[in-house]
Symmetry: C2
Subunit: 313 residues, 2 copies
């Protein structure tokens, strides 16, 4: 049987992938409280927002302010999403630790959502890399390959095309690549297969999986990915978000459920689950009326769950 | 990487494990329609009820009638739960194909729920085996080991005790043994570990896993179990049920979500998923107001999902 990573990072993307599809406008002060509480609960990588034009996503218009706050927290890896060079320049100016450029492996989804072909996104990544290097910036560039398991518009997406895009992103200067099941089409056998091949293409530079829970398979998919050695996963508190273009979408992998699964597997995440559940309850109050997800908040931790003494104090 | 079974049986236990914790009384004619539709959708193993005293579980008082109907469907494996020898005698009289005797590996849960110690249940299985053999009956005897991953009353349940109970059931004459996560405490690493060991104890006689979705891990647990070669899983349509003694329980593995996961993995189940979803919608109408679970019914099948031509006609 394959072994599992001993340490796994849950990258919290609720403030970006979660909030971008939520109607309730969350005030900046609440977002700052969220980031602070997540940090206090042990989360060390947070995607705080997206440098897109404010008119397109007013919910995320305060991203620069959030990066500035998050950068004050020692050891926190602060990431942002950027759709293009202009956004990347703002990310570099803000001194974000990492900027993620989404690429859609589905040609049709790419045109519909990004108004670019996958290869045009690759070319943009090359320009972003040049700008980053010219600025002497340390901001890492991650190419995030979405619709990697299929697409609601185009349907099938060839595995070969996903891997080709991955190699092209690396060749264009991406420091990291990741794979996302944007519309919740992935099952665990497909994940295991694609992630094994992606590891062969990118080695340690393939570093993150992003799963939506549209058909209830997010955690099974994480488990399958763990067996391939991938040790970083995007998730959102209360499972908020998911692709707004995916009909019937039932959210992202929930951070708290994922943290529980990993802890139960004996994998270290650094997360204090009771503290994360307390934050979830707070965010749930802020987002009253919005659809939330996850199971652990309702069931609670098992009686047998060992909370480390230091955390339980 | 471990391989998966090529064929997997989803044993529908909604009519027993599902309905027993549901308030709405489902009339016998609806249960018969459910069994008939499940059979038409390709399900070939159904637990139709439980031979317990009607005053304890009035919802399941029509079990004999359901067995009689289910036995008219060619190739359907009809199973029932029985708590003791008296129930087993009724199961044998009814000519059920299989009777499942629950044993709780948690001593305290066993006393609270069955009013017997695990070893007293083992002794009862020996009596049931003698009665079955004396009757010249072909009804298979399955010992189902519950609370195998922990218990809400006792807390920790030792793996060694689960395996000891399994060996004792086999020694007492059980033809089959299975493992259930009665209270939803299992995670996939624990499943993989215990199921590998259980296969060593019982070989092919260890044949079924039963997972509750209390903490959202039922499908991840099935995936982990598949890697150990186990090829039969209990599930309930719409995820109904789960242990009534498990607070906050969020149901069983949902039959339709599990069928989708397996189909997506290329594993044959014989199930026509659109037909199963149609049955789910019917059962949801019958059980209006009850808490249902699952994700596929809302999201629908992916655009890329290939429905076999014969089923799509």
């Amino acid at each position: 049987m394959p072994s599992f990573p001993t340490n796994v990072v849950i990258r919290e993307v609720g403030l970006r992938d979660g909030l971008q599809s939520i109607q309730t406008m969350l005030p900046t002060k609440h977002k700052i409280e969220w980031i602070g509480d997540a940090y206090a609960a042990g989360q060390r990588e947070i995607e705080v927002g997206s440098f897109v034009p404010a008119r397109l996503l007013p919910q995320l218009a305060d991203t620069a302010e959030l990066v500035a706050y998050a950068k004050t927290l020692p050891g926190l890896v602060v990431s942002v999403l950027v759709p293009n060079l202009k956004g990347a320049e703002r990310a570099i100016d803000s001194e974000a630790d990492l900027l993620l450029v989404p690429l859609s492996a589905s040609h049709e989804h790419s045109l519909a959502n990004l108004r670019k072909t996958p290869d045009e996104v690759v070319a943009e990544v090359a320009r972003i890399r040049a700008a980053r290097d010219a600025a002497g910036s340390k901001t890492l560039i991650e190419g995030g390959i979405g619709t990697a398991f299929g697409c609601t518009i185009q349907g099938r997406v060839d595995q070969a095309e996903v891997l080709r895009c991955m190699q092209a992103l690396l060749d264009a200067g991406a420091d990291r690549v990741s794979i996302a099941d944007t519309v919740g089409y992935a099952g665990p056998a497909a994940v295991r297969d694609l992630f094994e091949k992606a590891r062969k293409v990118a080695g340690e530079r393939f570093w993150c999986g992003h799963f939506h829970d549209t058909r209830g398979l997010a955690l099974a998919n994480v488990y399958a990915a763990l067996e391939t050695g991938v040790a970083r996963f995007d998730a959102t508190l209360a499972g908020i978000g998911g692709c707004p273009h995916a009909p019937g979408a039932s959210g992202n992998a929930s951070s708290e459920d994922l943290a529980f699964m990993l802890a139960d597997m004996g994998i270290e995440t650094g997360i204090d689950i009771p503290a994360l559940l307390a934050l979830r309850a707070k965010v749930a109050r802020w987002l009253e009326g919005e659809t939330l997800h996850g199971a652990l908040w309702l069931a609670g931790l098992p009686k047998t769950f060992a909370v480390p003494a230091a955390l339980n104090a």
